[in-house]
């Protein structure tokens, strides 16, 4: 029996096989969407680049060489040119992928989880619990995200960790909203009534039965939001409140290139392109995942 047959077996022999089989079907659906696959390739590249940056980068990202300042792209040895300290821009972008990825990973494991818990709890219990949690959400939503993140970083002090914390704290309210909306439709379903009749406790119902139904919408939302997260991280870096020099963070690089924008355009443009491509990758993948994960689209 080949692996494919094992995955497509209509009568799986174990939990693991059933789950992998479902994942395989999802993969088949995703594969038919060329744009989503393009997104996936971009994100795959980001992962590879982040993992192998020391091997891929031709130069040390923070080694300065003032003789080679502001070399244009195409210069031998510096394919994307050099910045105002003579550092190789390509190497800095490759290393910057690590920081971007770290920011994304940290935000992705904190904000959605927080939002999911708050949203499902509010939606499941309703009443005053709902009122309190949702007003709290509204307060966070009332501020523009960047402003709130700025305020938080100003309080916590600049630095990449605090930037991540600030982004995570400002990113959860939309997930809470999505999760609550989803919970409200699921809450009155017969299968929830059935498990309540079995004597299940509220945490068990929320975690085991409600959350799996909210997860697809939240995951889609997360992928679509990742572009925004990158931009906010870059924005904080640009304003000098995120990563600190000489770290090669993309936003910080754009900020540094600002001074030379007209004469040496590549200093700001190259990291800008990197941000653009990665954001695009996440958006494309998010759209594709919507088709794969949305229980309404997958049919009966």
């Amino acid at each position: 029996m080949t692996v494919i047959e094992w995955l497509r077996d209509p009568n799986p022999a174990s939990r693991r096989q059933a789950r992998l089989g479902q994942a395989y079907l999802g993969w088949l659906r995703l594969r038919r969407n060329p744009l989503a696959m393009a997104g996936l390739v971009i994100i795959g590249l980001l992962l590879v680049v982040a993992a192998f940056a020391p091997w891929l980068a031709p130069h040390d990202p923070i080694a300065q060489n003032l003789q080679n300042r502001l070399m244009p792209p195409g210069t031998a040895g510096h394919w994307l040119g050099t910045d105002d300290f003579g550092r190789d821009i390509l190497s800095r972008i490759l290393y910057g992928a690590r920081i971007t990825l770290a920011v994304i990973a940290l935000v992705a494991v904190t904000a959605p989880v927080l939002g999911l818990i708050i949203g499902t709890v509010a939606g499941y219990f309703g009443g005053w619990v709902d009122a309190v949690l949702m007003r709290l959400t509204d307060i966070f939503l009332a501020f523009p995200r960047l402003i709130l993140a700025l305020a938080l970083v100003a309080v916590l002090g600049p630095g990449i960790e605090n930037a991540v914390l600030a982004i995570a704290l400002t990113a959860w309210p939309p997930y809470a909203r999505v999760a609550r909306a989803e919970t409200l439709t699921v809450r009155n379903a017969d299968y929830i009534a059935a498990i309540r009749l079995q004597g299940a406790s509220a945490p068990r119902i929320i975690w085991g039965h409600v959350v799996p139904m909210c997860l697809p919408s939240v995951i889609i939302r997360v992928t679509l939001d990742m572009a925004g997260v990158i931009l906010i991280a870059a924005g904080l870096g640009f304003l000098g409140l995120g990563a600190q020099p000489p770290l090669s963070e993309w936003g910080l690089m754009i900020s540094a290139g600002r001074k030379y924008l007209f004469e040496q355009w590549w200093v700001a443009t190259m990291p800008g392109l990197a941000i653009f491509i990665v954001s695009l990758g996440f958006n494309l993948l998010g759209d594709g995942l919507r088709d794969v994960l949305d229980p309404r689209s997958s049919g009966k």
Binding site: R15, Q198, P212
Partner: protein, 252 residues
């Protein structure tokens, strides 16, 4: 057949009223008593409150007055209650969690009640309701409507309850599948000595399954009929008669 007296029924409902928030009076002053191992039917049209009575027993609808007793005890909806009373819902497409395998659906009640030996019990439950054990790790969307309803019945029986509340268990199914599910329910009742409280809009189904029938209209009990009186068309009230006449082709 045991004749349930008001003072010795397994399920005793006295003067039950259910008013939903917003003032909708779904059930008004209904009393009924179901003896142990009896099969009792509730019939009526939509809005008659028949399903609401089942939901009130389970705590899924608010009881505004009256009392519900199970085995003489006033109801507390705790785990012990779950082990005594279970429900099968109308729509098998909506009553199984779409992202759980049958294994998860069937073993969940065991996990909640801390009952071990889940593997053996799940396999046994599938066999009991006539499903192949190879279905164990399937998802609901890989099953037909009738197979899903079998799973829902298996789930309701996992905790070995005495009472099964059946809310139109076959009305979403094709006729031939309905026959299979009704046969399954009848067999399980005989084997396990279950007590049924069954809701249906189909007089033929209720007649086939139940010993006594309560006809309901707009939240009120209209008339209680033993099975023989139903088949012989011996109803006293005009409404029960009109319901019977509209179902006359069910005699064929």
């Amino acid at each position: 057949m045991q004749n349930g007296r008001a003072d010795m029924g397994l399920i005793d409902i006295e003067n039950l009223s259910v008013v939903f928030p917003g003032g909708v009076r779904a059930v008004e002053g209904v009393s009924l008593s179901v003896g142990a191992r009896e099969s009792y039917g509730l019939v009526g049209e939509s809005g008659s409150g028949k399903s609401t009575i089942l939901r009130a027993i389970c705590g899924l609808a608010p009881v505004s007055s009256g009392s519900i007793r199970i085995g003489g005890e006033v109801l507390r909806r705790d785990r012990r209650f779950a082990a005594r009373v279970q429900m099968v819902f109308q729509d098998p497409y909506a009553s199984l969690h779409p992202r759980h395998t049958l294994d998860r659906t069937l073993s969940e009640p065991l996990a909640i009640h801390g009952i071990g030996d889940a593997d053996r019990r799940v396999v046994q439950a599938l066999e009991q309701v006539g499903l192949p054990t190879s279905f164990r790790f399937r998802y609901p969307h890989q099953l037909s409507g009738g197979q899903r309803q079998r799973v829902a019945i298996a789930r309701a029986l996992m905790l070995e309850p005495e009472i099964l509340l059946l809310d139109e268990p076959t009305s979403a199914l094709d006729a031939s599948v309905q026959a299979e599910v009704l046969n399954l329910l009848a067999r399980l009742r005989a084997e396990r000595g279950l007590t049924f409280l069954m809701v249906s809009h189909d007089l033929a189904v209720v007649d086939h399954m139940c010993d006594r029938v309560l006809v309901m209209q707009q939240g009120r009990a209209v008339e209680e009929l033993p099975r023989a009186a139903l088949a012989a068309a011996q109803m006293q009230t005009a409404y029960a008669r009109s319901l019977f006449e509209a179902s006359a082709d069910r005699m064929l």
